[in-house]
Symmetry: D2
Subunit: 421 residues, 4 copies
Amino acid sequence: MPEEMDLVELRRQFHQYPEPGWCEFLTTVSIVEELERLGVDEIHVGPDALETTERLGVPDEEELSQWFEKAKSETDRMDILTHIEGGNTGAVAVVDRGEGPTIGLRVDIDALPIEESRDSKHTPAAKGFRSNNVGFMHACGHDAHITFGLGTLRAVLESDFSGTFKVFFQPSEELLGGGKPMAAGPHIDDVEYLIGAHIGLDYPTGTVVAGLDGALALSRFDIIFEGESAHAGFAPNDGRNAVQALVTAANDMYGIPRHKEGSTRVNVGNIHSENPANVIAHRATANAEVRGESTELMEYMRDAVYRCLNSAADLHECTVEASLIGESIRQDCDEELVSLVSDVAESIDSTSTVLRRDNLGASEDVTYLLKAVVENGGKGTYIGIGGSNPSGHHTPTFDIDEESLSIGVSVLSQTALELLS
Amino acid sequence: MPEEMDLVELRRQFHQYPEPGWCEFLTTVSIVEELERLGVDEIHVGPDALETTERLGVPDEEELSQWFEKAKSETDRMDILTHIEGGNTGAVAVVDRGEGPTIGLRVDIDALPIEESRDSKHTPAAKGFRSNNVGFMHACGHDAHITFGLGTLRAVLESDFSGTFKVFFQPSEELLGGGKPMAAGPHIDDVEYLIGAHIGLDYPTGTVVAGLDGALALSRFDIIFEGESAHAGFAPNDGRNAVQALVTAANDMYGIPRHKEGSTRVNVGNIHSENPANVIAHRATANAEVRGESTELMEYMRDAVYRCLNSAADLHECTVEASLIGESIRQDCDEELVSLVSDVAESIDSTSTVLRRDNLGASEDVTYLLKAVVENGGKGTYIGIGGSNPSGHHTPTFDIDEESLSIGVSVLSQTALELLS
Amino acid sequence: MPEEMDLVELRRQFHQYPEPGWCEFLTTVSIVEELERLGVDEIHVGPDALETTERLGVPDEEELSQWFEKAKSETDRMDILTHIEGGNTGAVAVVDRGEGPTIGLRVDIDALPIEESRDSKHTPAAKGFRSNNVGFMHACGHDAHITFGLGTLRAVLESDFSGTFKVFFQPSEELLGGGKPMAAGPHIDDVEYLIGAHIGLDYPTGTVVAGLDGALALSRFDIIFEGESAHAGFAPNDGRNAVQALVTAANDMYGIPRHKEGSTRVNVGNIHSENPANVIAHRATANAEVRGESTELMEYMRDAVYRCLNSAADLHECTVEASLIGESIRQDCDEELVSLVSDVAESIDSTSTVLRRDNLGASEDVTYLLKAVVENGGKGTYIGIGGSNPSGHHTPTFDIDEESLSIGVSVLSQTALELLS
Amino acid sequence: MPEEMDLVELRRQFHQYPEPGWCEFLTTVSIVEELERLGVDEIHVGPDALETTERLGVPDEEELSQWFEKAKSETDRMDILTHIEGGNTGAVAVVDRGEGPTIGLRVDIDALPIEESRDSKHTPAAKGFRSNNVGFMHACGHDAHITFGLGTLRAVLESDFSGTFKVFFQPSEELLGGGKPMAAGPHIDDVEYLIGAHIGLDYPTGTVVAGLDGALALSRFDIIFEGESAHAGFAPNDGRNAVQALVTAANDMYGIPRHKEGSTRVNVGNIHSENPANVIAHRATANAEVRGESTELMEYMRDAVYRCLNSAADLHECTVEASLIGESIRQDCDEELVSLVSDVAESIDSTSTVLRRDNLGASEDVTYLLKAVVENGGKGTYIGIGGSNPSGHHTPTFDIDEESLSIGVSVLSQTALELLS
C-alpha cells in the first residue's frame, strides 16, 4: 500500500471515532494497536504515560463511564481498556536505538463537542467517513495529529539512527487538561529536543511555520458558590445568598488591578442559578478564565481570582469551590530549533512557503512539555503544518487538505532524524 | 343529590384538570358550563371579563397553544374556546335582582407546575381523582376556590334578595398576573362590597379568619441583557459584556437605599448565561423581584430597579429589557366588613374558631380588586377558610379537608346575603 | 434666693462653659462643687463613676490635653481634676436615707462643636451668658439637664423619704460614647427605677411626655484601610490599593441584605484619601453607621459591616481597622412607670399638656442605663420636658425657655419622691 | 561675560522664582525681558502664543490672582502682565531669516508645589539661590529648560542661517495642561522639525539620548458628584447619595474591560466627602486618571470613564461633573531626526555617551506638539540631556549639574543649525 494512501486511511479511521478529553478510550486502544503493528519498543498507557494526579478537567464518573462502555462495545482489547479506565487515556511510544540524543514528538488526540456537518460539500460526509459519535467531531484536526505521530514513527523506524525517539499522544488538549500531567509524567525528563505540531490554522497546504508561539497563558475554573436558601420576602436574612456572592465575586474579578509587566485578561461565563427570585439562592455557578502575556501574569490573575472568590464567600457567608479545569503556560520556541526546522522544511519538495515564526493565537498546553524540556536544558518548538481548511477550526464543516498529511510527516520525521544524526 | 356531595364532586372534577396561569382553557369552559347549568343571568369570558392589555406573565405562543390544543381535545365548546384563545381565560358571572347593593366574590382558578404525588396516602391518588395533566397540580386549593364560587352562586340564587351578585373567576393568581387586568376590567366599578377567600393556609377545618392581609406588595421581572460576543482572550474590548452588565445591575439592586417608610425587599434569581468563559457574553438573563410594606414602597423599589438596569446597560453598552411578569399591591381589609364576616362566621354551626384578623404571609393579587372597590368608595375583605391540609401549600401531597367546602360556601353565601339584604 | 432664680443662674453658668464629650473637665468640677454645696452623701467621679474601658469615641491625647489645660486655668480644684484626667469625666451623686427603693436620675452633660450665635435676638448673646469656648455650644440643652440633676437633688434632699436617690451625670451623649460605660459602672446595679429626661424637642413649655422611645439602635465606626502606594502608571500591581478596598467595602455595605424583623439603615460618610490619582492609595478612611429597629437588628448590621470591611481588605491585600466610636441600643419605656410619671405630671400646676408616649426621633444612649435596670428587674422611662425652643436643636440659635427648668425639676423630683414613698 | 557663567546665572535667577502651571507670570515677564535683550524678531505672549480655550487644569480665580499680585510686586512690566493675566502665561519667540525650513524648540517653564530643602548640602541653599516662593520649587529642572531655550536662541542668533527658528516656552507641563493649547496655537503649523529636551532623568552629565519616548498616554479628571443630603437614620431615601454614586463609579472604573491592543491603566485618588455618616452625602469628589499604551487606548479608557461616571450618576439620581485637568498623548520620536541628533551629539566634545533611544518613563505633553508637526508632514524628537542629579526628580533636594547647561545648549543649537543649513 503506498504511503500516501495509508496516512489518509489512518486519519479517516480516527476521524470517525472522535472522543472528548479524558474519554479517548477507543482512540487510545487504536493508537496502541497501530504502535504494536509498527513494532514499537515500549508502549506506555494510562498512569504509566502521565501523572494521573495532575489531570485537569476530568469529566464526572457518569460521562467517563458512558464513553468507556461505548469503547468496550467497539473493541475487545480489555487489556488496554482496563489500564486506562477512569479517564487515564493517552499513550507514550518509545523507540530506543542506543547511544544518542532523545527526541520527542508531541501530538494531541481529543475531539470537540460539535455535531459534524452532513452537507454534501463537506468531504467527510460526502466520502462516508463522517463522525460516528453524535454531537462530537474532530473539528480541530487532532485526527491528523495522531496520523502525524504514527506516520512519523514509521518513517523514523524505517531509518537508521542512533538515540531515542518518543511520541507523546496527549489527551485533553482542547480543555487544556492534558499537557500538565504529561509534562509531569515519567517520559519527558530525558528529552533533549521536543517538537509539537498543529495542522491548518488557516495556513494553506505547503506552508510550514517553524515556530508558533506567543499565546497568552491561560487558566480556567469552574466555580460553585453554596449558601442557604430562604424566602426572599419573609426572611431574606435567613438565607446566605449564593447569587449575591457570585455577582460580588464577578464584579471584583473584572476589577483586578492591571499589571506593569503586560497584558492580562479576565472573563466570567456560564453563570447559572436555579432559584426563582422569591428564593434567596442556595447555589450559583459560573465558569471563569484569566490570561496573561506571561505565565507569571496568568498566575498573578489566578491568585487574584482566588482572593475574589474567597472574599465574596466570606462576605456573604457562603462556601466557594473553584476547580481548575484547564491551564496553559507561556513557553516560546527555541531560536536554534526554529532555524533547524526552517532549513529542513525548505529542503522538502512538497513545501512551498516556510515562515520562521508566527503568532499562535490560541492557548496550547504543549507549552508545559516545552517548558519541562527547556528546564532540563533542552530545546523545543511548535510547528505549524499548513493544510488548506475550507472553514474555520471548531466549526461543523472544518476539514483539512489530506495532502498535508504526508508533508507533515516529512517535516517532522526529517527534523527528528536530523536531530538524531 | 345532597349538597355536600355535589361540592365534593365539583372540586374533584376541577382537581383532575389543573392548568397554569392564562392556560385555564378547559377550566374556563367547565366553569361556564356550570354557570349555564345554574342559569346565571350574564356570563362574561375572555376580553369581556378582564382588560386584556393589563395581563402580566402571559406564556409564549407555543405554551399557550399546547394547552389550547389539549383543551380542544377534551371539549367541543368551540364557542367558548374561540373567545378565550390566546390566553384570555377567566370568567365573570352576574346575577342581577334589581335595586340594591352590588356584591362581588373573587376566586382564583389557576394551578401550579408541580407533579402530584402518587402515594397511596395522598387522597386524590387513593380515590382516583389525581391530576390528569402531567407535571401540573392544584396544589394551592384553587380547585376548592372554583367550587366556593359556584357553590356560593347556587346558594345565593336559591335565596331571595335584591341587588346584584357577581363572581369573578380570576386566572393567573400564582404568578400575580391576573388580578390587575381583572381590576381594570368592566365589572368591578359598581361593586360595593368585595370578598375574596382562600382555603387551607394551615388553619384547621372549622376555623374562619374574617380578614387576612398585611402581605408585602410585590413586583416581579424577567430581565434580558444583550450585548455582543467577542473572544475574551484576543479582543475583550470588541465585546459588549452582558454578564458584566448583569452582575453590575444585580450588585446595584442589592444596594438600593433603605426607605424611611418601612421594610423593602429585593432579590435576584435565575441568573443565566450560556457563554463559556472564553467568550464575552452576548446575552445574560435573570429574574428579579422587589417587595415593600406598602404599594408605594414596592413602587419605590421597582423604579430603583429600572434605574439599576438602565444604568448598567448604559455602562456596558448593552441593551436591557425588563418585562413585568407579576405584581401585587398592598390593600388591607376593611374593619367594618371584617366585623360583619366575623359575626356571620360565628353564627354558623360548622365553624369552631373565628379569628377577626391574621397576617396573610404571601402576596396576593386580590389586592387589586380590593383596592379598585375601595377607590370607588366600597369595602372589601379577604377571608381565610380553614381546611386541615395534610401537607404544605405548593407541595406534591397538598390536599384539603373536603368538609371545608360547605363551610366556605356557608360563610361566603351568608355574608353575601347579609350584605344584599 | 428664690428657687426659680437659682435654677436659671445655674443653667446660665453651665451654658458659658460648654465642653465636648470626654472633655467635660470644668463641667465635672463645677458639678462636684455644687454637690458638695448641697451636702450630698457620696460623690463619685472618673473611674469611680463609670467603667473606663467601655468608653467609646474618646478624643486623642492632644484634644483631651487642650481641654484639660483650659480647665486647669479656670479652677484650682486639682483634687478633682487629677481624678478625671485623660477623659474620665462625669459624676454620680448618691443620697442614702436607709431602707427603701433605689431611684436613679440620669442627665447628660456634654456640649456640641457649634459656634454660638451672636445675634441680639439670641437670648444668651443679648443677656451676656453666651459660650466662652469658641466653636462650642450647649446647643442641645444639656446645660438645662445638669440643672435638672442638681435641682432635683436639692428638692429630694429637702424632702422626707426613705431609700436611696442617685443622680448620674453622664458624659459624652452626643457621640453616644458615655451611656455604655456608665451602664457598666458600679452604681446602676441596685437601681430599681431609672428616669432620664430631655428638654425641648420642639414641645412647648408646659408639655410633658411621660415616655419617649422608639429610636433606632445605632452603631458608628471610624474606618481606616491601609495598603501600599505605588505608581499608578508604572506599577499598579505593586500597590495594595486602599481606595479600591474602601469603595469595595462601601459598595458591599449598601448591599447588606434586608432583615425580616424590621427596618435597618447603613450609611458611609467622610470618605477621604490623600493620594493624587497617579498614586495607588496607601490609605483611605471613612466613617460609617448602621441602625436597626431593635438592638438585634443594629447588631446584625454591625456584624455584616465587619464582614464587608474584612473581606474588602482581604481582597485588596490591605489591612483595615474599624473603631467603634459610638453606640446606642433600643430600650423602650416601662408602661407602669409611664403611667406614674403621667399622673405626677398631671397633678402639677405648671404643666399644661401631658402626653403618655411619643416617638423619640434621635438615638440616645440613656437606653444602656434603662436596659441595665430592666435586666436587673427594674423599670425605667425617658421623659420629655417641653421648653419652647426658638430654633431647632443643634443650631447656633438654639435656646430653651427657662420657665421649663422649674417644671422639669418638679416633675422629676415629685416622680422620684412618689417612688421613694 | 563668558557663556558658561551666563547660562548658570540665568538658571539660578529662574530657580529663585518658581511658579506653578498657568501662574508663571513673573517667569513669563523675565523670559520676555531676556528675549528683548537678545533682540528676537517676534515675541508672542498669552492668547497670542497659545489657544486659550484648550488650556487644561487652570487654577481657580483666587489662586491665579495671588500669583498675579505677587508678580506685580516684583516687576513693573504691566504691559506684559496685562496681556497674560488670568492664566495666559507662556511665550513664543520667532527669529525669521528668510527662505528655509522652520525649526522649533519647545521648553517648559512651570514649577512644582514642593518646599525646597534648606540643607547645606543642597547647592541652591548653600549658594544662596534657593526658592523665594515658599512651598514651591523648580524640582524638575524647568529652570534649566528655560535656560536651554534662551541659550539656544542666542547661539542660533549669533550664527549664520537661512530659515526660521522658533522657541516655545510652554506653561503648565507638570499637570499636562499646556501642551495641548500650545499645539493648537498659531505658531506650530509651519514647523518642519520640532525638538524638545529634558535635563537629568538620572542620566549623568555628558550623556545625551537622541530620542526619548514610549510613555503611556494619559488623561486626568477632577470629579464632582452632587446629590442631596438627608438624615441617614430618619429618611435615607430622601437623599440622593453622592458617596454611593462615587463608590459605584470608582468600582465600575476599575472594571473597565482590558483592551486587545495593549496595556491600559486606571486609578482613583483623592476621594473626599464631608458628610458625617449620619448624613446622606450631598457631595463627593475624586481625582482619577487613565493611561494607555497608545493615544487610542487612553481615549478608549477615557470614554469608558465617562460612561462609568454618567451611569453611576443616573443610578443614584445625582449629577456629575468631570473636568479634564491634564492630558498627554503618545507620539514617538522620528527615526531620521533621532539619527541626526545622535550624529550631532557624537560630534560635540563635551558629550561622553550618546544613546540613540531610551524609554521616557513619565507622561509628557510635548507629544501634542510633536504630533501636530508630524500631522503636518514634519518630524520631531524629544532629547534627554544628562545632568547628574544628586536626588530624584520631584524631591526637595533635586538639583542638576550646571555643567550640563552648556552641553544642552550645544546639542540643541547645533541640531537646529544643522537643520537650518
